[in-house]
């Protein structure tokens, strides 16, 4: 019985998400939708940070590339098709991650962090400085993608509830995909690379190829989140791929505890909740946010996910290992 508890909790949480629009509060429905798509974004980064041991500080680039893909594919006065834009957005961001990955995966450790950041910044400037994507003002997405398929319209993205359920469905698909991926031999190799890449190499695995595949998959999944963001809010700006966005999503992954997909989702929830609460206190909410981050690093080594273990150690008088 007890081994089913996590599954039951997840199903209850999913039921709660599905039932949420019944509360009939458009504001909170949008906020939950935003939280969930950041959750997808955080899960995609967790594949790199938590499972493969690659700390990327440039993950927002792929989120933004997908958002720009749908904005650029949508003509000014008519809607683009959902069935072409969604796969294209994911494909293009995965391809971008593949190209960047070839460069950044040549480096390790501190270099990797700096280089991923620098490449994301290159993408940022590409959209910020050139006429390609409307410059620093970004682009408005006047019409949400059209979902007509074989003459019928299974759902309508102009309806906020349909859009909400699309986001939840994407979450479920991405979650299950990552679960299966991590259970597969491919996923085992990634976890092996995280714990000891040298050993994996000496066992004959070409770790570069595995890391590159993971980097590209993570980019594509971040793209799915970016696409949904663009459709939900109806505009894209270069800020979507700014390094603050990359920092924030890394923060979500760490808040929730790395190497834990549900944790990434909870991290996104904690982040959005902090953002909402602190910003009602003061215009300078980032000051509170920054202080929370600094204090938690100083006094909670290992992050929030280590709290239960530390509490347990303190209660049993076992001392910390």
């Amino acid at each position: 019985m007890s081994k089913h508890i996590p599954l039951i909790l997840k199903l209850i949480a999913l039921g709660g998400l599905l039932a949420f629009p019944m509360a009939d509060s458009p504001f909170y429905t949008e906020l939950v939708a935003k939280t969930v798509l950041f959750g997808i974004f955080a899960m995609s980064l967790d594949l790199l940070v938590g499972f493969t041991g690659l700390v990327s500080l440039g993950h927002a680039a792929y989120f933004g590339i997908a958002a720009y893909t749908v904005a650029l594919m949508t003509p000014k006065y008519e809607a683009a098709s959902f069935w072409t834009t969604f796969p294209s957005a994911i494909g293009i961001s995965a391809a971008a991650a593949l190209v960047v990955g070839i460069f950044v995966l040549r480096t390790k450790g501190i270099y990797f962090i700096m280089v991923t950041l620098a490449f994301a910044q290159m993408v940022f400037y590409l959209f910020h400085d050139t006429a390609l994507g409307g410059g620093s003002d970004g682009i408005y997405l006047n019409l949400k993608p059209d979902t007509t398929l074989f003459g019928g319209k299974p759902f309508d993205l102009d309806n906020p509830f349909h859009l909400y359920y699309l986001i939840i469905a994407t979450l479920v698909v991405v979650y299950l995909f990552l679960k299966l991926l991590l259970r597969s031999p491919f996923g085992k190799v990634l976890v092996g690379i995280k714990s000891n890449e040298h050993r994996m190499k000496s066992m004959g695995y070409r770790t570069f190829g595995y890391k590159l595949a993971a980097f590209s998959i993570a980019g594509g999944l971040a793209g799915a989140a970016g696409y949904l963001y663009a459709v939900l809010f109806g505009f894209v700006t270069p800020e979507l791929m700014s390094w603050h966005q990359s920092g924030n999503v890394l923060l979500m992954v760490i808040l929730g505890g790395m190497g834990n997909l549900v944790g990434a989702l909870l991290g996104a929830l904690a982040f959005v909740a902090m953002q909402e609460v602190f910003s009602t206190w003061t215009k300078h909410w980032q000051l509170v946010m920054g202080s929370v981050i600094v204090l938690s690093v100083l006094f909670l080594p290992g992050g929030l996910s280590a709290v239960p273990r530390r509490l347990k150690a303190a209660l049993t008088g076992g001392g910390e290992k």
């Binding site: 910020h128 400085d129 000051l287 946010m289 981050i293």
Partner: protein
């Protein structure tokens, strides 16, 4: 491009590159010696620039502002090392990223609270406000030459400090083996504190020098930070000479990129970095 416009661009490239060197040298020293990735390093540049703005409005003189600003930056750096960074040496890079990212948010908000979110100018001191006429239409501001000169003097000073003094010897030894240096009776914590304060002061000083030509504005630290990362990556972590070479390279690439390929100016530096990564993933000057 005629000769004089070319000359102006060359001088600008050198000046920009040398200024970046001041920021990047502190970053690479802190990386190389203490093993810390410091995202907040760009914020020190911003703090310096705002210090120049605030102190020169108070005292009416940029020189006084800089003279006051340098000891303030040293104290500020030593304090930060004592209060925060000294706890990070044995943590992994992820926690260093997190803490220093939090610091950026704090510094930006404090800046917004203490000053405001407007763009401010800082006056060039009267002595250096002239321009040297190159031909009938073109001239070059003396202040930019002064910046280059000051940076060159500092670079030479840094060379002597690291290669020729006892302190420099201890710094170099500390980057190789922390425990061994300590067992020889050298207070490594003091060395680390000195290096960190020095790095903060170099970045802040660069901000003070740059304030009159770039003006001071919110978020000015972020751009400098990322360019400095690129410099450190190109030059090789921990190599001050790599940083000098890479900073000049970036200065030229950026300045001439803006003139020759204005649409892609922002991205050109990163293309340069990508090329270096393909060629030497550990940076040009990384020691084997």
């Amino acid at each position: 491009m005629d000769f004089y416009s070319f000359l102006i661009q060359v001088l600008n490239s050198v000046q920009y590159g040398l200024l970046l060197f001041l920021v990047a040298s502190g970053l690479t020293l802190v990386f190389g010696i203490m093993g810390i990735i410091n995202l907040a390093h760009g914020a020190f540049y911003m703090v310096g620039a705002y210090m120049a703005f605030a102190l020169s409005s108070l005292t009416g003189n940029l020189f006084t502002a800089i003279l006051l600003g340098i000891p303030l930056s040293l104290v500020f750096g030593a304090f930060l090392e004592w209060a925060l960074f000294s706890h990070l040496y044995k943590r992994d890079h992820l926690e260093q990223v997190l803490l220093t990212y939090g610091l950026i948010l704090i510094f930006e908000e404090l800046r917004s609270l203490l000053v405001d979110d407007e763009v401010h100018g800082v006056a060039i001191p009267d002595v250096f406000s002239a321009s040297i006429a190159l031909n009938d239409t073109l001239s070059y501001p003396v202040y930019r030459l002064v910046i280059s000169a000051v940076c060159i003097v500092l670079a030479i000073g840094l060379y002597f400090l690291i290669q020729r003094t006892r302190l420099g010897m201890m710094i170099r030894a500390g980057s190789h083996d922390r425990d061994m240096v300590q067992s020889l009776g050298i207070n490594i914590n003091l060395i680390y504190r000195t290096v960190f304060a020095l790095g903060v002061t170099l970045a802040a000083f660069a901000g003070m020098l740059a304030a009159p030509i770039s003006s001071v504005f919110p978020g000015m630290g972020g751009g400098v930070l990322i360019i400095s990362f690129v410099i450190v990556v190109i030059g090789g972590i921990g190599s001050v000479w790599g940083a000098l070479f890479a900073a000049l390279l970036v200065g030229f690439a950026d300045t001439f990129g803006k003139v020759l390929l204005p649409d892609f100016a922002g991205a050109i530096v990163y293309v340069l970095m990508a090329a270096v990564l393909l060629w030497r993933p550990e940076g040009i000057f990384k020691k084997g």
